[in-house]
């Protein structure tokens, strides 16, 4: 059963179906049904996934399908999933139906001070196409195919931000597109150089691992890939597009943008930068660690100073991406597994934050924090879920982000103690910006404009419910996810053949 191809085909067919349907309501329902179908298929696939196969090189990518695409250049339609990719595909499959349910009225201009009514069908069709591409980009085992999806993802997101966003949507959309394209071009050069220098006659990733020996070319190719991924998962200097894009995009699109699209960057670092160019990665590790730590602290500090809710949440995710990058480049199994789990948890916690902020903006109109106050009195359920999402954002133990952040920090501490300590200060800053926002919007006397704010309706409960459940479940029982991720990360790091840090062998003894 060609799982991955069906997983990609169903949303695309769904998108076509959605655009052909007559009424808007029906279009939304079809979109929801299709995304739920994809979710069901993904769960079935996950059940059949056998984590123990992760070790050996041949069976690393399960559900693999390889077809000739452009024989002359050895480009294949190669799809396959290992632990890391599976988890991320599951994340996207879970997030998309929730986003569809959440953006039920986003496109029809019915919210307070919402942008004018746009074609609802196109919005949901774009969402489904985006889902297909998200699954594609994580499933691609052919570097060229990965690059194609890497670039193709931008188009639906560009349109979603561009035509359905807030006031400065066109500025934000163009900035997002230009930033990513700039990165993408560098990567294209690197991909082609990889093919030519590697001269294995194929783009298939398993064959290309470890094929570039000479350190200087490795360094250059690494830079080509790394800058593209650093722009995508915004690392510190390349991050200014995210707050604009996330603030202007409709809440649903912002969730997918921050929740899944940006993860392609960090996933790319872990999969392509580390495994294809081990020497260069080791060479550049100090630089990346500095960028990541700066990103953590800088993102947190700027987040504290924000006045708009969605911009604040966007800056927090810049801080979180700092953690993920730190975990990837600490090159220990704990940190790597922590980083991958972090990608999933961040998807849920920031997704919940964005969606609830979206509900608030849908009701009240403005995104500024100062326009709210004392919502907790008026809409206790919304305030409660917003608090849980926020607490997961500041990685409170017992909620999902803590496990991954703990593993990232402990993994980084094993190899680089000082950056880990500075990064841990991010934990304190996280408490400041989340609680500061929660206090100004939710607690205190109820502001006039917020008096008649309705609480979550049934649809919105079905949006927030699964997210909160996932946050708490992954918080208490991360082992099922980690069992899937660990072998894949071990295999990835074995390709980097870096000597394990001192504690590893003690761990054997200590456990």
């Amino acid at each position: 059963m060609p799982w991955l191809s069906t997983l990609m085909a169903v949303p695309v067919l769904g998108a076509v179906g959605v655009s052909l349907v007559k009424s808007d309501r029906l279009a939304k329902q079809v979109a929801l049904a299709v995304s739920l179908a994809v979710l069901a298929l993904t769960l079935l696939m996950t059940l059949q996934f056998d984590p123990s196969l992760g070790a050996s090189k041949e069976t690393r990518f399960q559900f693999a399908e390889v077809y000739e695409w452009i024989p002359r250049f050895g480009v294949h339609y190669g799809v396959g999933v290992d632990g890391i990719a599976l988890v991320l595909i599951a994340l996207s499959a879970v997030l998309v139906p929730i986003v569809i349910l959440a953006s039920w009225h986003d496109a029809d201009g019915s919210g307070a001070e919402a942008p004018p009514k746009r074609s609802v069908k196109t919005y949901f069709a774009l969402l489904l196409v985006l889902e297909a591409m998200m699954i594609g980009v994580f499933a691609a085992t052919d570097v060229f195919l990965f690059y194609v999806f890497f670039e193709a993802m931008l188009i639906p997101m560009y349109f979603m931000i561009g035509s359905y966003g807030g006031v400065q949507r066109s500025y934000a959309a163009v900035k997002f597109l230009l930033y990513s394209l700039f990165g993408g071009l560098l990567m294209l050069v690197a991909v082609i150089a990889l093919y030519v220098i590697g001269d294995k006659g194929t783009f298939m990733f398993p064959e290309l691992v470890g094929v570039i020996q000479d350190p200087t070319t490795q360094k250059w190719l690494f830079l080509g890939f790394f800058i593209a991924f650093a722009v995508k998962a915004p690392l510190w200097p390349f991050h200014t597009w995210l707050p604009d894009a996330a603030a202007q995009a409709p809440a649903g699109a912002a969730v997918l943008l921050v929740g899944v699209l940006d993860k392609v960057g960090t996933y790319g670092m872990l999969r392509f930068c580390l495994e294809l160019f081990p020497e260069a990665s080791k060479f550049f590790t100090p630089l990346v660690i500095v960028l990541a730590v700066v990103g953590i602290v800088y993102g947190a500090i700027v987040a504290i100073g924000q006045t708009d809710m969605k911009r604040l949440i966007a800056y927090t995710s810049i801080s979180h991406f700092g953690f993920i990058a730190l975990g990837v480049f600490a090159m220990t199994t704990d940190a790597g597994a922590g980083a991958t789990l972090y990608m999933v948890n961040h998807g849920f916690s920031t997704g919940a934050l964005f969606l609830i902020a979206g509900f608030l903006i849908y009701r009240r109109g403005s995104g500024r924090i100062a326009d709210y106050g004392g919502v907790q009195k008026v809409a206790p359920l919304m305030a409660g879920t917003f608090l849980i999402a926020g607490l997961s954002g500041l990685s409170l133990p017992g909620l999902s982000s803590f496990v991954s952040e703990f593993m990232v920090l402990i993994g980084t501490y094993e190899r680089h103690p000082v950056p880990a300590i500075i990064a841990t200060s991010g934990v304190v800053l996280a408490a400041v910006y989340i609680l500061w926002m929660y206090q100004r919007t939710m607690t205190g006397p109820t502001a006039e404009s917020v008096k008649a704010l309705p609480d979550l309706n049934l649809r919105e409960k079905w949006v927030v419910g699964p997210l909160v459940a996932a946050i708490i479940a992954l918080g208490f029982f991360p082992s099922p996810a980690l069992d899937v991720i660990n072998p894949a990360v071990d295999h990835a790091l074995s390709n980097v053949h870096i000597n394990p840090p001192a504690v590893a062998e003690k761990k054997g003894a200590g456990q």
């Binding site: 900035k175 200097p237 991050h239 200014t240 800088y298 500090i301 700027v302 504290i304 100073g305 924000q306 704990d334 004392g374 907790q376 009195k377 409660g384 607490l391 500041l394 409170l396 133990p397 017992g398 803590f402 496990v403 703990f406 593993m407 920090l409 402990i410 501490y413 094993e414 103690p417 880990a420 300590i421 841990t424 200060s425 934990v427 304190v428 408490a431 400041v432 609680l435 500061w436 206090q439 939710m442 607690t443 205190g444 006397p445 109820t446 029982f477 991360p478 082992s479 980690l482 069992d483 660990n486 840090p501 001192a502 504690v503 003690k506 761990k507 054997g508 003894a509 200590g510 456990q511």
Partner: protein, 640 residues
């Protein structure tokens, strides 16, 4: 069919299911939170049921543990794999954790019962009880966890519960700010604890307590597996975490603001249980502290300094709850001092912790019932002469007062004197400072008694105090009984020390308790002097309604020893300043660069556009120039 007893026996006794202690309150909290309006009517009863059941399980486990031979009093129950390869969730039942569990569930249940009365007319009572249950569950997880990660989860869970409970009356901005402040200051402490856990993991490859006992650490030090420096670092970082949670000096500013919460909260969290978590951490990681004498010294110093600071603050506070909070800070200073003295001090620290839990909770609840009677008036200057009106509250409050100042034969006397003597042996400076602290305690506690229960009535005109309902006074009575006898029971014959020995080790020779030893006498004299001075100032004399200006010391104390001012100056203002700079840099700096680039490109293209003048002849000119350049290039290439 096996009888329930056999089932329990078969599954390793009640201890086998002791994780229920954590699960039941958690379940209660979840039901009440998710239940919503429907659970309003019977919500609080469920919460109390959960808490009392947990207490029963704790008691049964305690007796089961006593049943075991001395050296086997340690049962670890593994629950499930939390983080594969790193930390598994598990429950550790040993003398130390069971004594804490008993305190938490015992005092907790009493406070649950008390809260029925106190929160009777609050619309959100259901939410209050769910948060209380959440707190009990988190605290139990903290004390029962068998590794540092589990402890840390409980640690922050307690921080969350205190955030929710302090900020329970969210509509009050001061409560919301106090809650946020408490959480953030706790988070700074957690930062230290996190780093400590990392260092432990890197040093020992495991976070489980059984792998990190005193002997294991000593060995690791000897084999050079871990350096002395990192051990001291671990000690100091653990202390930082403890200070965050137990409001010791560097991170004490949040405790006094935490009084914004309802009184049962102050009683439960900020007197009996949460603030003692720091002491538990120091005692539980005894192995590290013994291997790092410098860290131990720092703990004692922090203890003494906080002890004195708390006392001084206590003297100047007119708000009854803030006064009690100051005294809590000071008493925990004592416990920290004891915990820093090594094995000999652990028993005294835990003993004082338990007795303090009882009489401080008793006094807080007493204060609560006084406030309840005086329709939520907190300023003692508006009290006075309440004894005849509220006899039961007054008597129980006075018993607690006598216990805390160390009145002979009451529980405070035994535990506090034990600490003072142990400190005296350790180093005379610490001892005498502790004695001074006891004296000041005598003064401010007497001041509080005289201002509240004796002297002229300074009530507000609409106040007509009446005795609180029995649901509030019964817990007071139970707690006061505990305050009287518990001290003697724990200390005499070193009963607690022997009981705790398997968990925390024991000193070479057991300290003998002799009633009127040198320091003991000195303490009594100082306490009496403090009480007399308080009687002169507040008992006999007329207490002015408005606080007099007072000397430099009182102003110093009223401003909480400028703790908040210091935090503001060192962290808040530079932090805001840094944030503004960062936001400016982000908008202007990086974004400015990017937009500038775009504008530059736009500008140049605008100018280049003008080259197309429309005149054929200027185009011809450029063509000629082009031709000339080509010919030049050919020439250059040709004969190069």
């Amino acid at each position: 069919m096996e009888s329930p007893a056999e089932i329990i026996q078969h599954s390793g006794g009640v201890i086998g299911v002791s994780w229920l202690m954590i699960a039941l309150p958690l379940l209660g909290a979840a039901i009440l939170l998710l239940g919503g309006r429907r659970t309003d009517r019977w919500g609080h009863r469920l919460a109390i049921g959960m808490s009392v059941t947990a207490f029963l399980i704790a008691v049964i486990s305690f007796f089961e543990l006593l049943g075991l031979p001395e050296d086997e009093r340690r049962r670890a129950i593994a629950l499930y794999r939390f983080i594969p390869g790193m930390a598994d969730m598990g429950v550790l039942i040993d003398p130390l954790s069971i004594s804490f569990a008993l305190l938490i569930t015992g005092v907790g249940s009493l406070i649950h019962i008390y809260s029925i009365g106190y929160m009777a007319h609050d619309p959100d009572r259901r939410r209050f009880f769910s948060y209380l249950n959440l707190f009990v569950a988190a605290m139990l997880l903290l004390v029962l966890a068998d590794n540092y990660v589990g402890l840390f989860i409980g640690w922050e869970g307690v921080g969350l519960a205190s955030y929710l409970l302090i900020g329970f009356w969210q509509f009050k901005p001061s409560a919301a700010t106090a809650a946020k402040k408490a959480f953030i200051v706790n988070r700074v402490g957690d930062f230290g604890l996190l780093i400590a856990i990392f260092t432990v993991w890197t040093g020992f490859g495991s976070v489980a307590f059984d792998k990190l006992s005193g002997t294991a650490v000593g060995e690791a030090l000897k084999t050079g597996q871990v350096s002395q420096g990192s051990l001291t670092a671990i000690g100091l970082l653990l202390l930082l975490g403890a200070c965050g949670k137990s409001a010791q000096l560097p991170l004490q500013s949040w405790l006094l603001d935490a009084m914004e919460g309802p009184t049962p909260v102050s009683a439960l969290i900020h007197a009996a249980t949460m603030v003692t978590a720091g002491v538990y951490l120091v005692v539980r990681s005894g192995g590290f502290f013994e291997a790092a004498p410098t860290a131990q010294l720092v703990v004692t110093i922090v203890g003494v300094v906080t002890l004195l600071a708390g006392a001084i603050i206590g003297c100047a506070k007119d708000d009854i709850k803030k006064g009690l909070a100051g005294s809590t800070m000071s008493q925990i200073g004592y416990m920290m001092l004891a915990a820093g003295l090594g094995p000999v001090g652990y028993a005294f620290a835990i003993a004082h912790l338990i007795t303090h839990g009882f009489f401080k909770a008793n006094m807080f609840l007493g204060a609560g019932s006084v406030m309840h009677a005086m329709n939520d008036e907190v300023d003692m200057r508006r009290y006075g002469g309440l004894y005849p009106v509220m006899k039961v509250t007054a008597i129980t409050f006075i018993i607690g007062y006598l216990a805390i100042i160390g009145f002979p034969l009451l529980s405070g006397y035994f535990t506090k004197d034990g600490i003072i003597e142990a400190a005296m042996e350790h180093s005379s400076v610490l001892g005498w400072l502790a004695v001074l602290g006891a004296g000041i305690t005598g003064f401010y506690m007497s001041r509080m008694i005289f201002m509240t229960f004796f002297g002229g009535r300074r009530w507000a005109d609409d106040a007509h105090p009446h005795e609180s309902p029995s649901v509030m006074t019964v817990p007071l009575i139970v707690l006061s009984v505990g305050s009287v006898f518990l001290g003697a029971f724990l200390i005499l014959g070193n009963r607690l020390m022997l009981f705790l020995a398997p968990a925390v080790g024991r000193p070479e020779e057991l300290p003998a308790f002799h009633a009127f030893s040198g320091p003991g006498l000195a303490t009594l004299v100082l306490v009496a002097a403090g009480a007399a001075f308080a009687w002169v100032r507040y008992g006999a004399a007329e207490v002015p309604l408005v606080a007099p200006r007072g000397s430099f010391l009182t102003a110093f104390a009223r401003r909480d020893l400028y703790g908040d001012a210091l935090n503001e100056a060192l962290f808040m203002r530079p932090g805001q300043w840094l944030t503004r700079i960062a936001v400016f840099f982000d908008n202007r700096g990086i974004d400015g660069l990017v937009n500038g680039l775009a504008a530059a490109i736009g500008g140049t293209s605008g100018r280049l556009r003008r080259v197309q003048t429309g005149y054929v002849r200027s185009y011809a000119l450029s063509i000629l120039f082009g031709a000339a350049v080509v010919v030049g290039a050919l020439l250059y290439v040709g004969n190069m």
